[in-house]
């Protein structure tokens, strides 16, 4: 009875809690995508986590403990190995994009140099704005990568939530 009353109270409190404003955490040096470790004393992260470091994508696997397989495996029928393979594919695509970006930068370098000029022209007429000469193929690849990133983050959030409910 008391437990049910406590649970109902928690539900009502959470429903009316103000939103938590997520602010950037200042950290020295480079900023990494850092899902908070469950154990503050340990630097190990459980389960495969899709991370981005600079221009690189890589997978950081956990401590190899099979009991720490996250819920992300349910998102990918093949399990963590399919996530790893997909991340490798995305990494290869990422490198290809970097190679193409180098060419793109040369192409749009002049355009960027005249960006302010084109902005002024844009105000007076419908001149082409600042733009990228990006192909649809590259745009699709980027969308696919961002979608995979979104799914990975959502899977991580779901895993944390399930762990929270399990306590």
């Amino acid at each position: 009875m008391k437990l049910n009353l406590l649970g109902t109270t928690v539900i009502l409190l959470v429903a009316f809690l103000p939103r938590y404003e997520c602010r950037a955490i200042e950290s020295p040096g480079s900023a990494l995508r850092i899902p908070a470790p469950q154990n503050q004393n340990s630097q190990q992260l459980s389960g495969p986590i899709l991370e981005r470091l600079g221009e690189e994508y890589f997978i950081r696997l956990g401590n190899g403990d099979s009991n720490s397989i996250p819920a992300t495996s349910s998102m990918y029928p093949g399990g963590p190995s399919s996530i790893f393979n997909r991340a490798l594919q995305l990494q290869l695509t990422r490198r290809l994009l970097q190679g193409k970006v180098g060419n793109i930068r040369e192409l749009i370098g002049d355009l960027a140099d005249h960006g302010d000029e084109s902005m002024e022209r844009g105000r007076r007429s419908e001149e082409p704005p600042i733009s990228l000469d990006l192909t649809f193929h590259l745009l699709r690849e980027m969308m696919e990568m961002s979608k995979a990133e979104q799914l990975a983050q959502q899977a991580q959030n779901n895993r944390r939530m399930m762990e929270l409910f399990g306590k």
């Binding site: 939103r19 908070a36 960027a112 902005m119 733009s131 990228l132 969308m143 983050q153």
Partner: protein, 312 residues
């Protein structure tokens, strides 16, 4: 009355999701106030050319002069994007700039097009250097936004915070995937709305309701038009190889309500369902789309002089 644990859990989940009007995701951020040892605030590194589809803070630091960079931001169809700049360390006088754009720009073409966007072209840009206070935040009118930036100095940079906000009546949507379904509703608004899919797809219109009058007045007899452009409210399917819908080719249009199925294969880089509304009625169109495989792409007629992607 004893409440079973399952009902408590369901009530908890419903209460969380109802705060945002979303039924798909539950924000863990709300929980973090209760569970202090969990941090759900992520810091990401932003690349010179990047695409973002998640909320969070993204930091760009130039390791070398970066003269032409852009970040595409995309959200779910029923969301708009809030962008905020912070920790900006650039030299505007040296030619650095950070400009947020309400939409996407690709190869000189804008999405949404100038015809479909409520703001003038110059109003869609938010320049940080023109006003650091007003130019540090922006909110998009649709589910896509973009940031252009140029930074000369090493170790200069900025932090971009992306937030997604619910949009109850989305208009002008860029699909993030080549397959899915969507229902576009335009209630008494004089607006043209486009749903853009940057893939060759087969589109199936499953429901089309046009011209529901405001009151119970008699609906006047309509003339049969050879094209829908004169009928006021209609749906058109467009195909093309750019993102600007005003530069795309109309492949079909529907003027009257549809109760059955209508489908079309559009073998173009960009396939668009566009709803044109006069504001006099409540219009609604539902459709499904799926990616066309290479072998199912409509074959273009040989020796064709038409500069147009294949349609079937």
């Amino acid at each position: 009355m004893k409440v079973p644990p399952r009902a408590q859990l369901l009530l908890f989940l419903v209460s969380l999701s109802s705060r945002m009007g979303l039924s798909r995701y539950i924000e863990v951020k709300t929980l973090s106030r209760d569970v202090s040892h969990l941090s759900v605030c992520f810091l990401y590194i932003l690349g010179c050319l990047d695409m973002l589809s998640t909320e969070g803070s993204f930091t760009f630091v130039a390791s070398r002069p970066q003269l032409a960079c852009a970040t595409f931001v995309i959200a779910e169809p029923s969301e708009v994007i809030g962008l905020e700049l912070s920790d900006v360390n650039i030299d505007c006088r040296a030619g650095d700039f950070i400009k947020m754009f309400d939409g996407w720009v690709l190869k000189g073409e804008k999405f949404p097009s100038s015809q479909d966007h409520p703001l003038a072209s110059h109003q869609r840009y938010t320049d940080y250097c023109s006003s650091s206070a007003a130019g540090s935040s922006s909110r998009s009118s649709q589910n896509v936004a973009m940031v252009f930036f140029r930074i000369h100095g090493e170790d200069s940079g900025f932090t971009l915070t992306v937030k997604k906000l619910h949009n109850p009546f989305p208009c002008n949507i860029m699909s993030q995937s080549p397959e899915g379904s969507f229902t576009m509703v335009m209630p008494h608004q004089r607006r043209n709305c486009s749903f853009s899919i940057i893939y060759p797809v087969e589109i199936r219109l499953t429901e089309l309701s046009l011209g529901q009058a405001k009151s119970n007045e008699l609906i006047p007899q309509r003339k049969v038009w050879s094209a829908c452009s004169g009928s006021g409210d209609y749906v058109e399917l467009l195909g093309g190889n750019g993102v600007d819908t005003s530069h795309m080719f109309p492949v079909a249009d529907l003027c009257f309500s549809l109760s059955g199925l209508a489908q079309m294969k559009i073998g173009c880089d960009n396939s668009v369902v566009r709803l044109v509304s006069s504001g006099n009625y409540i219009n609604r169109v539902s459709f499904q789309y799926r990616l066309l495989d290479r072998d199912t792409l409509p074959k273009a007629p040989e020796n064709s002089l038409d500069n147009f992607c294949s349609v079937e």
